[in-house]
Symmetry: C2
Subunit: 217 residues, 2 copies
């Protein structure tokens, strides 16, 4: 199975959904699934499923469908889950705290190494076993530990500066929760943002549309 | 300006990004912007910008561009920001707590009315002025208060059941942070999910791709 570098962003964004869906099917004890059944469970057509998976070398067999565990494993491989990527958290406030405590980093193939903050009440403590270090020691830490990704939950005013420090220190990716569009000078560093407000405003649009239909059917 | 019901999901998903970008331009004191400059700041082409905005009746003027504040206001109107939508939080654990404390609901046009939990240590307290009620009182609360959206941060095992209760109680939308694909029996209820793992796995894919390029350029 090969990694095709010309895969569209839309297909890439669907891969984690395939992985999640296949994990649920696997937990439910399902051994194989047809492209139409897999599509139905994800709101996609069978032909879209076949096209997506074909981008990565095409698995599945006519009239048989896909083996759930095999397909899950292959997609996990494409996503890099088994590569042992490492991650640090910048900002151990409410959101950083919640992510460290609740998010299953290891299920997604990431080792959470440490958190960084400037608050003297937080520095030196540990959250769910993860040490909270002073942000001043960030560069030293990255120089001595292999850090692939920095998760940013710092205040918006510090977002760009902390992003720059991560890039200069040599991380490969930034997982950005600051609601600020980090500008990254190095195109080889991937920035992936979780914008809560974009999601809530999409919902706002959808319920407004429903309200309009109810008023003027 | 009209709400076109045939707008594609991709365009709808870009509207909050336009709104966010225009808010930043407005704060920076910019009065007008060309479609090419707006596109550049968002990684889109000028023609895509014009097409997107044309879906909603087309603003902007040839050779003049868009008025930043006017366009921001119109997009905000389309998104329903001025409608005074209301929201409750289900689950006041770490993530619910962090969202209540840090997320700017009002900037996105939402009034946060209350939170619900089952933990006796949390019920009866308030988080940033928001009362935490017992989950048993959910239906009574919704019957007596106009609730548009339920934000779900309950454990994954309770996700579907709480989603069903919200739908049965008559909410218009669910903002789902449970990492579980809520199945919604009522198609008129909008479900918008924030899947942290989808975002992290996309980042994992992008950095894995970079690793492969570095190994086999």
């Amino acid at each position: 199975m090969k990694r095709n570098t010309k895969v569209s962003t839309a297909v890439i964004r669907r891969l984690p959904r395939y992985y999640r869906q296949l994990s649920e099917l696997q937990e439910a004890g399902m051994e194989r699934i047809s492209s139409s059944a897999l599509g139905k469970s994800m709101g996609l057509t069978a032909s879209q499923i076949r096209q997506d998976l074909f981008c990565f070398g095409g698995f599945g067999q006519q009239g048989y469908g896909y083996k759930v565990d095999g397909l899950k494993e292959e997609i996990g491989e494409i996503l890099g889950i088994s590569r042992g990527h490492t991650l640090i958290v910048l900002g151990a406030g409410n959101l950083g705290h919640a992510l460290i405590r609740n998010f299953r980093f290891s299920s997604n193939g990431f080792h959470l190494l440490a958190a960084f903050d400037v608050d003297p009440l937080r520095v030196g403590t540990a959250i769910a076993g993860v040490p909270v270090c002073h942000a001043d020691t960030l560069e030293d830490f990255i120089a001595t530990h292999p850090v692939d990704v920095g998760l940013l939950t710092v205040p918006i005013s510090a977002a760009q500066q902390m992003g720059d420090r991560l890039v200069n220190a040599g991380v490969k990716g930034i997982w950005n929760f600051t609601n600020y569009e980090i500008v990254c000078a190095d195109p080889s560093v991937a920035v992936e943002s979780v914008h809560f407000s974009d999601s809530l405003l999409t919902l706002s649009y959808l319920i407004s549309q429903r309200e309009d239909l109810e008023e003027h059917p």
